[in-house]
Amino acid sequence: MTERGNEREWILHARRGDDDAFANLVEAYQVPVYNLCCRMLGDPIQAEDAAQESFLKAYRGLKRYDPNRPFATWLLSIASHHCIDRLRRKRIQAISLSELLPNQQKPDDSPGPEAALAIREHQQAVRGMLEHLGNHDRAVVVLRYWYELSYEEIAQTLSTSVSSVKSRLHRARRQLARYWMEQETVALATRGKCDEASAV
């Protein structure tokens, strides 16, 4: 049976209250849902909690799922709304992404110390950027870049209009570019000071 056929079968059984069938869906979609929560909340513990709750919400609301819609985007929609609600309630400050790194690499691509440092720096840069965006703008960026959803799919996922998605994406990209420029200026200034100090 194809993966898509499996998925349909699992959904059908899960709708009748088969826990094992829904557990198969959890197994299949744990990474995208967890990643979304991590990118949105910036904290692995909060992300785990949010991902688990998103799956519980999905199981409870499975009867409302429209089978004509991709199951992945329906799940991501639940997780996005859940994370935005959490951020609104708690105004979580994203914490160091270094805690995320142990789970980040797959076991088969264990990088050397230099590669690990590069990955760490890369992830830290991304976390720093996302932190500077508002909750909804961050959700749009995450759905666009990590899940490659179309404007229409993002609009459907976040229960908003396509024009709102476009304007949020436009604003977020401009904001991120400005942040990047500022960081580079700061880095250049720090390097300049170091060079002066070493020359003296």
Partner: protein, 180 residues
């Protein structure tokens, strides 16, 4: 044209018109700030496109099953609480309604009930009085009787009672035998 217009065009989601495209290219050639911003935009895009997904710790599905069990337990407790609360509220409401219906029916009987109640109170008061009299008498008797009689008297009373019970028993038994 000012920076702001080009700044907007740089991150435009919709495709620019050929005229806008040309104007932007010309501006980028002459403006270092906008050129740097465009480069920063490309760098950000590169960073976002090359960042892999973060995976949860192993055993996510097992933890989900545990969460599901916890959730069901919580829901069960909440439902039980709701049932208990609604039953209590229902019972209290019914009792109040029933009481309100019964009150007019009981109205004529109220003087009789009050009378009975005062009689019961009077009887209890009398009993209390009798008990007090007896306790006073007992105290006087106990103080007046020497210690030897206080021991001998109950023993002889008990002995006499025993003799009395035995003779009663024998008499009735003999009568029964004679009849047979």
């Amino acid at each position: 044209m000012k920076h702001q217009q080009f700044d907007t065009w740089l991150f435009e989601e919709e495709a620019l018109s050929p005229d806008q495209d040309r104007a932007l290219a010309e501006h980028l050639e002459s403006c270092e700030h906008c050129r740097a911003l465009a480069a920063a935009g490309r760098a950000v895009e590169g960073q976002l496109l090359t960042t892999s997904q973060i995976e949860p710790a192993p055993g996510f599905t097992q933890r989900w099953r545990a969460c599901l069990a916890d959730d069901r337990h919580r829901v069960g407790q909440r439902q039980l609480g709701a049932v208990l609360l609604s039953t209590t509220v229902g019972l209290v409401t019914l009792a109040l309604l029933f009481g309100a219906q019964l009150l007019p029916l009981l109205q004529p009987a109220i003087p009789a009930i009050t009378q009975w109640f005062s009689k019961i109170v009077a009887v209890v008061a009398h009993l209390n009085l009798v008990r007090e009299i007896f306790s006073v008498l007992l105290e006087i008797m106990v103080e007046g009787i020497p210690i030897v009689y206080r021991v001998v008297l109950p023993i002889s009373l008990a002995g006499l009672s025993a003799v009395w019970i035995v003779s009663l028993y024998r008499l009735s038994f003999q009568n029964l035998r004679r009849e047979l």
